[in-house]
Structure formats: C-alpha cells, structure tokens
C-alpha cells in the first residue's frame, strides 16, 4: 500500500497535500483499492464555493460500491479537477497525483491538527484488516 510521507490523512481515507494555506484533497491508495475499479466520479462543489469540514465534496462510484468524499478542512474551493469525470479510473492508477479532487484555500488551520501522518494512517489501516 502506497502511503506517501509528505501527505496527511483522515480516518475517512482522504489525503491532503499542504502548500501554505492551500490544501489539495484526494482519496488514498487504500481507499481506491477497497473500492476496486472506479467507474464514476462527480465533484459536487464548484470553484469559489465555501465548504465546511465534513461536507460531502464528491461522490466516487466503483463496480461494487459508492462512497462520498468529505472535505477534511473548511475553506473556499479554488480548483476542482474537471478532467477526472472523463477518466475516473485515474483514481485507481494515480490516487495521489492526477486524481486529486479539489483544492481548498484553508480558512481554519487548527482543523489540520486532527490529521494523521503516514505512520499513524498506516497503523489505522492495519488495525482495520
């Protein structure tokens, strides 16, 4: 399982890449592996939209399940990955790269304290299995 050390993770299997007060959000390699072949993704927020931590920001559907992706931080959406809808399988092949979902201008940095680092996330996954 690929768990890059430079990212932070949530208990819901989202990852966030921090660059200043900008966070890029996607779902983890573990999440895509659990879902199996992803056939549909819909990002349900738009640029400039304010979203709060815990709001659903995307729906990901695989051949065996559908899952909501919740934004792990509050803020303003500054970019959505429009290309992903045409190639949802990118989430399987490149979950930490081309398959990012949204970028957020983070409004409350204290929310970042709840995130797990890669080691803690690794442990979480192991506990589940």
């Amino acid at each position: 399982m690929n768990i890059p050390e430079d990212l932070k993770y949530t208990d819901n299997d989202e990852w966030i890449r921090l660059e200043g007060d900008i966070g890029t959000i996607g779902i983890s390699d573990y999440a895509q592996d659990q879902l199996s072949d992803i056939v549909f993704v819909e990002i349900i927020v738009s640029e400039e939209e304010q979203i709060a931590k815990g709001d659903s920001c995307a729906t990901v559907e695989s051949v065996k399940a559908a899952a909501d992706v919740y934004t792990p931080v509050s803020g303003t959406v500054i970019a959505v990955n429009e290309d992903l809808a045409d190639v949802p399988e990118t989430i399987n092949s490149d979950p930490y790269g081309d398959a990012w979902l949204i970028k957020i201008h983070i409004s409350d940095a204290s929310e970042l304290d709840d995130f797990k680092d890669s080691a803690a996330y690794q442990q979480l996954i192991e506990e589940r299995e």
Partner: protein, 449 residues
C-alpha cells in the same frame, strides 16, 4: 405454494403481544362497527356471476363499437396480433425484474432492444428501460434536471401546450419542494409560438419542457428554444408521441437534453387509460442522473454475447439517499409490446403509419374547415390532431356524435378557459374516409335544439 401462518405461528405471535385471541386486538373498535351486517345481495353461482358481469360490461362502449376521433394523449391504432401473442408468452408475462442475468437473457435482450429502438427513434444516445407512462416520464425529467444542478437551480418552465395531465403530474411530484413552475398560463394563444417561452428562462432555470407534436397537434422546430435554454445553462426536455417520429425530425436533432414520451401509440391498447409506457431518453453524459434501470450488452466468460442490467435501479441499491428518483419500477411488459410492434413495422412501416395519420388528419381538417361555423385553428404544421372552434358547446356536439356511434374529440374548454367550445380532433390510420365523411356530415347537422 404459498404457506400462510400456521395455527402455531399465530399462537406464538398472540402470546408475544400478550393476548389470547385475535378478537382481543379489536377491543378498541366499538362493537357496532365490528363485523356489521353488510347490505349485499345473496351470493351468485359462477354461471350467474359471469352473465351478470357480461351484462355490465355491455354498457361500455369501446373503440370497437364506435368510430373514434378522440386522442389527447392516447390514440386508437391498429395492433398486429403478433404483439399480443408474443407478449402473452409465459416467459415474458410472468418474468420479474431481471436481476439475475443467468436466468433472464430473454427479458434483458428485450429491454436492450427496446432501449435501442427508443434511442434511435428519438435521436438520443441513451434510453432507460421505461417508466409508467408519458406523464411520469415527464415528471422524472423534472427530477433529473433539478438533481443535475444539485438543487442550485429551481425554476422549471413548462409549455402551456404540454399535456395538462402531464403538468398536473409534475405539480404532484414537485409539491412541497422548492421547484418553482412557470410558463403555464390559464389561457393559451392557439397561434402562439414556442419562442414565447424564452422570456421565462433565467439563470435559475433548471429545465424547459415542451411537447412535440404539442398537445394541440402542432409541430414546431425547437432548435431556437433549445439554444435559448442552453445559453442560460438550463436543460430542455421534449415530450413526444413516438409514433409521430416515424415521420418527423427526431427531437435529438433539436439538441434536446431529455426526450420523454407516451409509448401507448406503439402497439398498446387504449385499455381505459393503462397500463401505458413512459419513454425516457437522454444524453450519455446524464446517464448516471437518469432514473430507472438500463440493460446493456456484454460478453460472458466464454466470449458469448449476453445482456445484463448495466445500471440497476440505483434508487434501490448503493446510493439511495442520492438517487434522482424514488421510482424503480419500469413497464417491462408494455416495453416488450412496443418493441415487438416497432420491430414488426420496421422503419418503413412506422413511417407509413405516421404518414397515414398525418394525411387522414389533414383531409379531415380540410373537410371540417369547409363547414360553415367550424374553424380549424392549426395554421402551422400539425401531425394527427387539430383544434376546431365549434359553434356549440363541445359536450352537446359530442352527444349528437355519439348517437351516430362516433366518439367525438376532446373538449379543450375543460383545461383551457380560453378554449371553450373548442374541440381537439385526432385522426389515425383506423379512421376510414367514410368515417371522416360521417364525422363531417354529422358536425354539419348538429344544432343547438
């Protein structure tokens, strides 16, 4: 075999709720209302019952007994005997939803063929496996458009020339929601233009819905309206009579996002209003927003062609809370009947039936228009229905027609205050020249005494 509760089961259940006898469950009902004496006649033997029911049924007058010029959404067409014969095969008649492809290939292939035919006929990319009828299919289009914009657009523009019952169904579906329906007016300008609707379309508009041919039989090119809707980011849905598409430009060519329709004209009997068939077709990009189910073609492990439910009724499964609709049911048997009908007629046959309807309707319109006191109002192209301004109330005229065993047209005044004394007359391939001449001569003789 169905095994109901055994005495033991009942006893256990009664014990569980703490009563001795079933009667104790009804102690709160006043005794006078428990099993009261019913004022019903004594029982009949089977032979007597059949005779009695036959007598009652003879008071019905059907299109077999009458010459029919009534349409307004349901039409009297000829159905080849093979449609019924195939539809009544046990394998189709008793089939349940084909969740298990390994035992449902026949039903699945029939649905797949139905979808292919509907998509071709409407000029759209995808069709679902059907809805209940034209009205509910139209309402699903409203639901889909609203869901497509994730609730951010709440206005729906309905053409006043969309079937009044479809509009009523849409209002029922959307009651209590934030959806704001505009465009309908109490009165209708029979010479009005579909582009009159453009002024209702704003940035908050999710959907514009029109009918083709419209409720008054008129044929319009909706390209400009579609363009105006798309400019404001709205979708456009066209409700259609699929039989007319044997002749007319498919609505897909007007850049419709959704095409719905009443499939009854495709080989289904009138049956006093149902079961009918709701057509629903859309663009591939909306396929996951579409309600209902969709059969697809695939290959099995041996590489052989097979069929599966590619998109099952999402309302029942994985995304219930996010579903566009709460309707999972399709009209499987009616979809099958229409598939057999379309397949038997083929492209050429469908065109021929549509042409017959068109030509006979135009002949009838011309004859009626030449009568003093009757004016045909359709001055734009129309299909098999047209509006006639009559000299007397429509119910009075229809009464006189019925005496000559003619089922007259639809009384438009029932739905449109501005169209009192206006009749909507439908003509199909079932109406002979003699039928039309009898209608015309009877209309000429109607007086107000």
């Amino acid at each position: 075999m169905y095994i109901p509760h055994t005495d033991n089961d009942r006893e256990e259940m009664l014990h569980a709720v703490g009563v001795k006898e079933i009667e104790e469950l009804f102690t709160d009902v006043p005794s006078a209302h428990i099993f009261p004496e019913l004022d019903i006649p004594p029982a009949l033997t089977e032979m007597e019952a059949v005779a009695h029911l036959e007598k009652i049924s003879q008071s019905n007058q059907s299109v077999r007994d009458l010459t029919c010029f009534l349409g307004a959404g349901a039409y009297n067409h000829f159905t080849p005997a093979a449609v019924d014969s195939i539809m009544r095969r046990g394998e189709f008649l008793t089939a349940y939803t084909p969740y298990q492809p390994e035992i449902s290939q026949g039903t699945l292939q029939a649905i797949f063929d139905y979808q292919s035919l509907v998509a071709t006929l409407t000029g759209m990319e995808v069709s679902n496996a059907s809805h209940y009828d034209g009205a509910t299919a139209a309402a699903e289009a409203v639901n889909m458009a609203y869901a497509n914009f994730r609730g951010k657009k709440s206005r729906v523009v309905l053409s006043p020339a969309l079937h009044p019952q479809y509009r009523e169904t849409i209002r029922t579906y959307t009651r209590g929601s934030v959806i704001d329906i505009v465009g309908e007016t109490d009165g209708i300008d029979p010479h009005g233009d579909p582009e009159d609707l453009i002024s209702f379309i704003d940035d908050n508009t999710a959907l514009v819905m029109v009918q083709y041919p419209d409720f008054f039989g008129r044929i319009y090119d909706f390209r400009k309206l579609a363009e105006a809707a798309h400019e404001k980011g709205a979708l456009i849905s066209i409700s259609t009579n699929p039989l007319s598409l044997g002749l007319l430009t498919p609505p897909g060519e007007f850049n419709a996002d959704i095409v719905t329709g009443e499939g009854q004209a495709l080989g289904l009997p009138l049956s006093y209003g149902g079961p009918y068939l709701g057509l629903f077709a859309t663009r591939k990009k909306f396929v996951r927003k579409m309600a209902g189910r969709l059969a697809g073609e695939t290959v099995d492990v041996n590489g052989q062609r097979g069929f599966v439910l590619t998109l099952t009724a999402r309302e029942q499964h994985i995304r219930r809370e996010k579903a566009t609709s709460n309707i999972c049911t399709n009209q499987g048997l009616m979809a099958l009947a229409s598939t057999v009908y379309m397949s038997m007629l083929g492209k050429g046959g469908l065109r021929e039936v549509a042409e017959l309807c068109y030509q006979k309707a135009h002949y009838a319109a011309k004859q009626i228009n030449s009568l003093p006191n009757y004016v045909v109002l359709n001055d734009t192209p129309f299909f098999n229905e047209f509006m006639v301004r009559c000299p007397y109330p429509v119910d009075k005229i229809n009464q006189d027609l019925l005496e000559r065993e003619i089922l007259g047209g639809y009384d438009l005044g029932l739905e449109y205050v501005s169209l009192k004394e206006h009749m909507l007359i439908a003509v199909t391939e079932m109406n002979s020249r003699q039928d039309i001449e009898l209608l015309v001569s009877t209309l000429a003789e109607v007086s107000d005494d």
